[in-house]
Amino acid sequence: MSASTLRSPTGSVPDAAGRNTVARSVRAELFRLRAWPAMWATLGTWFLLATVFGYVFPYISYTTGSAGFSTEGQSAEVLLQGVLPESVPDVLVQGTPLFGGALVLVLGALVAGNGYTWGTWKTVFTHGRLRPTIGALLALAVIVAAMVIVTAVLCTAISVVLATVESQPLIWSSAADLLRSAGTAYLVFMMWATIGFALGTYARSAALSVGLGLVWTLVVENLLRGVGSALPLVQDVTAFLPGTAAGSLVGAVTGAGQGTPGVVDVISGPRAVVTVTAYIVVAVVTTGILVRRRDVN
């Protein structure tokens, strides 16, 4: 094969007008992400944890009469109601502020950070920086959307099985409740995913960004909220933290005070929506600035 045959007349020349270039990058990122075992491991962990904490533990508590850390003090009737189809909207979001958020943060950090570790961003950025980055963020948004939809389907399927086993009538939640819950889960996940992506971009390393992100979500915010109960100034600050916003948003949907880890009622629902959205915007803009301004080494 000679070099001249490389100059194929079709399909070789990129679209000069640059149309649909972001869509191409979304396609490219989805193409490579869908084959990534780390992504499936992260999503699988979420589905497993959502099932275990949303249905397995409450159902075991119901059937055995024992109480777990999240079901203590709840009557058998409440426990059973919590695993039936009418409670799918609550179960869908209850894990998102804590372990769900941490998992998508890990996913976002891996998507961005591993590209630097492997040198793949260097290869891709040779033909432009912003478009592939936006493509990766949008691909992440698609994956998160699929994650929420699959979770809703999974919750519905499990709750129907349990209702059948327990000979309970199939009472469905309203579509509005389900949509509101799915939207909340999506917002919370997107906040943590974009923060993870921004951390991965900033650190240019998956390991460092995952470590920093997890320490923040699982340790620092909880510590600050603990300190905040004694120091009003710290308490004021914690009201603006991402974990507080996510927990408050979920709390506004499910009704605060259920004892679910990560779910709080520190700020109002509307303010939580604004705060979560602001974090998404800040994370995306920060990522864009870092990608555009920094040298690619």
Partner: protein, 325 residues
């Protein structure tokens, strides 16, 4: 809004934005290109010109500034000052980057994907068809191993996949940084043939390599960089200069004495059992006459050429910037 706006600002020069006044034969042109890290200049006022269709060898010791220069040409690093224009456009602009392919400082691919899937990912980013992927895989001889995971590739295979990625989209300019790293002798020969073939097909190739014999063999022109400064840019033949005379005879001290008389004190060099005289081959009869007159037993005399390696070491130890043809 296009990517690298700030880079465009840094590299664009007034009065040169349009394409009409661009020399169509110049593919890469840097002007006073400088990159500083703190007080240290990694690249210092480099004026470099790469012409269409040539294989340009870019040489320099480790840490001389080769890769930094190449990254600035690709728009991956923003210059501190100076400018880079690629195909008449600022480096890193969409127009220039869409016509450029590169393998820079080792290949960067997703380890969990196959070689083919890696290239398809890159092709999708750029809106290229899967057919292009098959073409470049064939070009580097990886069709049969295309479905193997990248992480299972040998160093040489990874390098070839990196070259395949650089060829995607049939770019006008191909930048190859040490493309023969990890290749066996046969792979190196194939790579050399590929590069020559690419140039024949109208591509412009910038080849950075430590294998000076390889560069001497296939490059049309070379640029030599040392301590961040371009110390020489010329054709290979100009750089090597004229042939000189190589003499073997005994006693050697008498050969040295004659060499000093004929070529001057600085015009000769002892090379093992031979003496190199900085004289043109047509002076051989004069040299033989003088040696015989001095009762030297001449065992051989003939023209010899300096290698690029000789010239490279001379230039990189005395780095005075100069520009040739």
């Amino acid at each position: 809004m296009t990517d690298n706006t700030t880079l465009t600002t840094a590299t664009d020069r007034p009065g040169r934005a349009g394409s009409a006044d661009i020399d169509a034969d110049v593919v890469v042109e840097t002007s006073a290109l400088t990159k500083r890290y703190g007080d240290r200049a990694a690249v210092d006022s480099v004026d470099m010109t790469v012409r269409r269709g040539e294989i340009y060898g870019f040489l320099g010791p480790n840490g001389a500034g080769k890769t930094t220069t190449l990254r600035m040409i690709l728009g991956l690093i923003r210059p501190t000052s100076g400018s880079v224009r690629v195909l008449g456009r600022p480096a890193g602009s969409r127009e220039s980057s869409s016509c450029t392919g590169a393998l820079i400082e080792g290949p960067g691919f997703f380890p969990y994907l196959s070689g083919r899937a890696n290239l398809r990912t890159l092709a999708r980013h750029r809106g290229l068809s899967d057919r292009c992927v098959e073409e470049v895989l064939a070009r580097v001889g990886l069709v049969d191993r295309g479905n193997d995971a990248y992480k299972s590739y040998s160093l040489g295979m990874k390098q070839r996949l990196g070259v395949a990625a650089a060829l995607l989209g049939d770019p006008d300019l191909i930048v190859l940084d040490e493309p023969t790293n990890g290749l066996d002798p046969s792979g190196m020969a194939d790579m050399r043939a590929l590069i020559v073939d690419l140039a024949r097909a109208g591509h412009t190739v910038i080849l950075s390599s430590h294998l000076l014999g390889e560069v001497q063999e296939i490059c049309d022109r070379v640029g030599v960089i040392a301590n961040g400064r371009l110390v020489r840019e010329s054709t290979v033949s100009t750089l090597l200069g004229d042939a000189i005379l190589k003499v073997r005879g005994t006693p050697q001290d008498r050969v040295v004495s004659i060499a000093s008389d004929l070529a001057g004190e600085n015009g000769f060099e002892i090379d093992g059992d031979a003496v190199l005289l900085d004289l043109p081959p047509e002076r051989a009869p004069d040299v033989v006459r003088a040696l015989v007159a001095a009762d030297v037993a001449v065992s051989s005399i003939g023209p010899t050429e300096r290698t690029l390696e000789d010239v490279f070491f001379e230039m990189t130890t005395t780095s005075t910037p100069m520009k040739g043809v």
